[in-house]
Amino acid sequence: MDKSKKILKRNLGQLTIPVIAIFILIVFNLIRDPGFFAISFMHNNDGNIVLSGNLISIINGASELAILAMGMTLVTAACKGQDISVGAAAAIAGSAFVKVLKSSAVITGGTVLAAFLFACVVAMIFGAFNGTLVAVFKIQPMIATLILYTCGRSIAYWINGGATPTVSSPIISALGSFIPGIPIPTPVLIVVVVAIIFRLVFHFTALELFTQSVGINGSAARLNGINATFIQLLSFIILGVCVAVAGTIGVSRLGLINHETLLLDIEMDTILAVAIGGNNLGGGKFKISGSIIGAYVIQMLTITLYAMKVSSTDVKAYKAIVIIFLVVIGSPVIKVKFAKFMSKVHENKRSVSAKGAERA
């Protein structure tokens, strides 16, 4: 018993809250509707055999959020603040992606790759802009990214000259939904690839350690020979790549770019995913896996509410209640109170057993 508790404590740590949250949601859904997580095979419009079901739509729908949350975790850890311009930047990246696709007559694999790389470069430039403001000019991340938040979607509008162009091509639809022959949605595969890349980067470089040390104490890190400015800038550029990937998925899903609605309000959800994942929004130690779980928690919550016939505009109110509940459980004051209460219970037990021993 004690051993299992210790293992739980050591392995979960900051992951306790997100894992508990996802567990509660699963149990709640199973009680409400035992068939909620049933997965079935079905034929989609192109005649492919694909997986379908609520679980698949949860995992599929959270793809952009998960990818953005990974990048946001790095920024949060290194810069002690959040980027609130990811939605706007994704709209810009998506517009750039569509712009290149539209410029060629035939959409081939090469064009899509070129368009994606172009979107990456554009998003990285905007990331570098934010990063420069934060790392070089020492401006609070939220304020620095407020600039792009204000004007980002207008820039996306401007790139496409005030239109919402559509792109239709089998390659784009394969990116957004299913590759023929593979029953798993492509966005999910992309999330897995991105997660593996992050894992590999952390394994082969010291990025994780450096980011944490910059986030915990920037000047101490600098005295130890870590270039804090560069690490912060780098975190924003990495987030830029994540933004480009998320924007590309978002565009491919619908086959069109709408600068106003593409990944709307995702910046708030992303920050929430990072927070639910147990990461301190004040920087320092972080766990990417926590943020990914956080993203799925949010999406599962949304889908659960949809399944309960809550209209899409009202979902926010219920979401807010769950968020408050989660953060109150995770709040430091409550944790301390709970620990005190538990130790009191233990003491009582011990004193009772000691008394019992005396009597005997």
Binding site: I139, G282, V327, I334
Partner: protein, 342 residues
């Protein structure tokens, strides 16, 4: 300032310096617009129009400035404004009392302020997350109340709404020879009152100085015997009440409740506070600066419209550029001052 009591080494504090910069830029920008575009900018009504349109934004920004001076952030203000508008309109349409509707507006704001303030200061949860949840909740509640736009059809409310303060000597002579007096809505009076009251509170009251203290350095404030938790709690409560008032002023201006009311207002309010010289790190800021920040933000939009850049994207791109300029300016100014100090 009272020089006898505390002798200053520098002529300006950070707060005053940033505020002066904002006011200077606003005045010069407005003068430039007067010279370049003439027309509407030459009439006093232009200023009153800007005030009429932005009365609720000014009130919200003042509340946000207090929270930001205390080192926090509140992004629920716009959503609370929207919720207040919707619930007051529905209440009035169901045959409610005008006085009670004001109480309802303030009450909703107070409720949000109390809950958020408690969660943030006593349970020590990050303000961004708490107020984000508050924003989601308020927006969701607004659509739960009504998805469709609701028009206020309450008689005495409409009478109250139509009261306009006319200032004849600031008016202008229209083309047909009639004198058109400058018109100001009641909401503007409320907004200006809020600015003045908060200015006095921040400058002279113990509570106001407490906000600066906890924002500047929480540990030192604690050592000085300031009740840090209570002061922070009160900053959110005041901000909540002001969002309630702002909602009522918003309703007086538009006269209708809509789920998309005040969309993006929280970010406009943050931008106003920043342009007005408030730092998100806390301890520096002033409501007079915030007031001019809002006016600057509006003026730049008016200038874009007058200069013939009609494409829909120019307004927000110039706003972004403006914001970038102010943020960089603040960063550079404060850094130079920090270096100049021994």
């Amino acid at each position: 300032m009272k020089k006898g009591r505390n002798v200053r080494r520098e002529p300006f504090t950070d707060t005053q310096l940033l505020m002066m910069i904002t006011i200077c830029i606003f005045v010069s920008m407005y003068l430039l617009a007067m010279i370049l575009f003439g027309g509407g900018f030459l009439h006093a009504q232009q200023v009153f129009d800007m005030l009429n349109d932005n009365a609720s934004l000014i009130i919200v920004s003042c509340g946000l400035t207090i929270v930001m001076i205390g080192g926090g952030i509140d992004i629920s203000v716009g959503a609370v404004t929207s919720l207040v508008v919707m619930s007051c309109v529905l209440y009035l349409n169901s045959g409610g009392n005008l006085f009670v509707s004001v109480l309802l507006a303030v009450g909703i704001g107070l409720g949000f302020g109390l809950v958020q303030g408690f969660l943030i200061s006593y349970l020590e949860i990050q303000p961004f997350i708490v107020t984000l949840a508050g924003m989601f909740f308020a927006r969701g509640m607004t659509t739960i109340l009504s998805v469709n736009p609701q028009k206020a059809a309450h008689e005495s409310f409409q009478k109250l709404r139509d009261i306009k303060i006319e200032i004849p000597w600031l008016g202008y002579v229209a083309k047909n020879g009639n004198l058109v007096p400058a018109r100001m809505e009641l909401g503007v009076v409320a907004a200006l009152l809020c600015v003045i009251i908060i200015f006095i509170v921040l400058l002279f009251l113990r509570l106001g100085r407490g906000f600066y203290a906890i924002g500047g350095n929480q540990q030192s404030a604690l050592m000085l015997g300031i009740n840090v938790k209570q002061t922070r709690f009160l900053s959110y409560v005041i901000c909540g009440i002001l969002s309630g008032i702002s909602g009522y002023v918003f309703m007086m201006h538009t006269g209708a409740g809509n789920a998309t009311n005040a969309a993006g207002m929280e970010m406009n309010a943050i931008a106003s506070s920043i342009i007005g010289g408030t730092l998100l790190t806390g301890g520096v800021g002033n409501v007079i600066g915030t007031f001019f920040g809002t006016m600057t933000l509006t003026t730049i939009k008016k200038i874009v419209v007058s200069s013939g850049l009609n494409d829909p994207w120019w307004q927000s791109i110039t706003t972004g550029g403006m914001l970038c300029f102010f943020i960089l300016l603040q960063s550079v100014v404060l850094r130079r001052r920090a270096k100049a100090k021994p």
